[in-house]
């Protein structure tokens, strides 16, 4: 079977969950071959093997992660030329999509982004227009380059002993156009990443102020989930922009999404509509969010949310 290249998303050697999801998907379509770029491979090796990476191309040169996106695309383009993979999978994150875009130009291939599933023949499923339409698409020209949305596939352990091959690529001046001079990691405490979390609790206009977001955080922590916010809340400065779920923010697709004090404007729905189970707490019975929910409580979030947190803690 043909190799499927999987660009491993990691932060300094800490493998992101989406990478394991992509390995699982790749092994359904062919043979998963992980592509590791940057430092930290030794720490990640076992995990990649555990989730079925039969092969790993290791490009440890730190220079490859010193510039915005282009070096990763250059490396992948070289691997596409040398190894003739059947497809290339990347995470549909901001950076993953950009790598995919550059790789598409370099290899003259079609690219499909924000994909939620891939089946035989590399037919990709998209959930578009805020989840209103399911479309299937495929690549007609070149090597299919597919960016898959995090949380779309359940990662499955499939122990393998990866064969390692060291690889490198010579960067052109154009690849070095934008230098990363500093990486700033913002404190997120112990909470999981928003786009990767299995459970997300988001607060909106109804939360009423930055200080009240502790209610949302408390509920999220009781469930081991991530915190999100609607645009109304981030625009008001109650929670950082990087936690915004919605059309101009992040798209999330967790197992459980709890919307607290969020009316459910299209802006927000576009970012969370594909969540598997949706729960809402809102005092307005007419709020559009209730059209989406599996379970909804019409009530005061300041009563309901703390009670829910307490009840969950009690049941642990």
């Amino acid at each position: 079977m043909a190799e499927i290249l999987v660009l491993v998303d990691h932060v300094d050697g800490e493998v992101k969950k989406v990478a394991l999801e992509l390995l699982t998907l790749a092994n359904r379509l062919g043979e998963a071959a992980a592509v590791w770029v940057g430092p930290g491979y030794e720490n990640a090796k076992d995990k990649l093997g555990e989730y079925g990476a039969g092969k790993v191309y290791v490009a440890a040169d730190e220079e490859l992660t010193s510039y915005v996106v282009a070096p990763k695309a250059a490396l992948l383009a070289q691997l596409v030329a040398d190894k003739s993979p059947a497809a290339v999978l990347v995470a549909a994150t901001g950076e993953g999509k950009e790598v995919a875009g550059r790789l598409a130009v370099k290899t003259g291939s079609g690219v499909l982004t924000d994909v939620v599933d891939v089946t035989d023949g590399f037919v990709a499923e998209h959930s578009i227009f805020g989840g209103g339409i399911i479309a299937h698409a495929k690549v007609k020209t070149g090597t299919p380059i597919i960016a898959v949305r995090p949380n779309s596939v359940a990662p499955e352990a499939a122990p393998a002993t990866p064969a390692e091959e060291q690889v490198s690529v010579a960067l052109s001046d154009a690849d070095k156009g934008a230098k990363i001079v500093e990486k700033v990691v913002q404190e997120k405490g112990e909470r999981p990443d928003l786009t990767e979390a299995a459970i997300v609790v988001s607060g909106g206009r109804g939360v009423g102020g930055a200080e009240n977001f502790s209610i949302i955080e408390g509920l999220a922590d009781s469930l081991g989930g991530a915190v999100g916010a609607s645009r109304a809340a981030t625009d008001a400065g109650w929670y950082p922009h990087s936690f915004q779920v919605g059309q101009t923010g992040k798209t999330v697709s967790p197992q459980l999404y709890i919307a607290v004090g969020i009316s459910g404007a299209i802006q927000h729905r576009a970012g969370m509509q594909t969540s598997k189970t949706i729960v809402a707490i809102n005092k307005d019975p007419e709020a559009p969010i209730f059209e989406l929910v599996d379970y909804g409580i019409v009530g005061d979030l300041f009563q309901v949310a703390p009670q829910l947190t307490e009840e969950i803690t009690k049941r642990k």
Binding site: V11, G94, V105, G110, G177, K179, V293, G299, R315
Partner: protein, 259 residues
């Protein structure tokens, strides 16, 4: 400073968005067209850079005749002139082809900075800035939430999943912006009146030197195989809180094995 802002007209997310059953392309008649929201942030950033450093802001749109609405609004916000790439031969182009067509036009207009929103609300591919930087061989300063220009140097903050990267590059560059970067201005009455007198150049494939065999639905590198409306979500249970709403949700979550 020669700043070109890429503006895409997209269906208003508040109106029904559809694909056409015959060729699976966007049904532009089904919904009102508006400027892609993140592109308004791109226009705003371009205007601020011009106000600080001088130069000219050109709006570049690829799209059908109706896209003139978005051009007019961009000019009313304060852009100096516009280029409208419009040709039936472009219909159904995918991202790869769109980046090629825009590259050809940018070769004509020249640029120190190309600024665009990080993705559109319709296709949401998020690839165009990267594709253009690749094609043009210039720096990619994408997902920017802060941009500073100093002479021919550009410093920016690039939004990442873990926070942000500080990025430095030299002009020319392609810059894509995220919502956090600024607050777009509303067109003033004076701006709306002034916009009527601003030049709009209309280009077809031949004018822009675009090879017709490299654009359009038939030549696209990707194709939509089929599409259907998503099955409606099963109607959930909605309960009015009578003092035990939190307990009830906990019971629901337990029934689904979340707790």
């Amino acid at each position: 400073m020669n700043i070109v802002v890429l503006v895409k007209q997209v269906p208003d997310t508040e109106s029904p968005r559809k694909l056409k059953s015959d060729d699976s392309t966007l049904d532009r008649a089904a919904a009102d067209g508006v400027i892609n929201e993140l592109d308004e942030y791109a226009i705003e950033e371009a205007l601020r850079i011009k106000e600080a450093h001088g130069g000219e802001v050109t709006v570049l749109t690829m799209g059908p005749g109706k896209a003139t609405d978005s051009i007019r609004k961009s000019l009313a916000m304060g852009a100096d002139k516009a280029v409208h790439l419009v040709d039936d031969g472009l219909a159904g182009s995918d991202a790869l082809q769109t980046s090629y067509a825009l590259q050809q036009v940018l070769g004509r207009t020249g640029f120190d900075l190309v600024i665009l929103g990080s993705e559109s609300t319709d296709a949401r591919t998020g690839v165009l800035a990267a594709m253009l930087a690749e094609r043009l061989g210039v720096a990619q300063v994408s997902l920017a939430n802060k941009v500073e220009i100093d002479g021919s140097a550009i410093k920016a903050q690039r939004q990442t999943d873990y926070g942000f990267d500080r990025v430095e590059a030299s002009l020319p560059a392609v810059v894509s912006v995220v919502e956090k970067i600024n607050e777009p201005r509303y067109p003033s009455f004076k701006g709306i009146m002034a916009a009527k007198k601003k030049p709009v150049e209309t280009l077809g494939l031949g004018d822009a030197g675009i090879d017709a065999a490299q654009v359009g639905l038939a030549n696209a590198a990707t194709e939509v195989v089929d599409f259907a409306e998503a099955p409606p979500r099963a109607k959930g249970e909605i309960v009015t809180d009578e003092g035990d709403g939190g307990v009830k949700i906990a019971e629901f979550l337990a029934s689904k094995k979340f707790v």
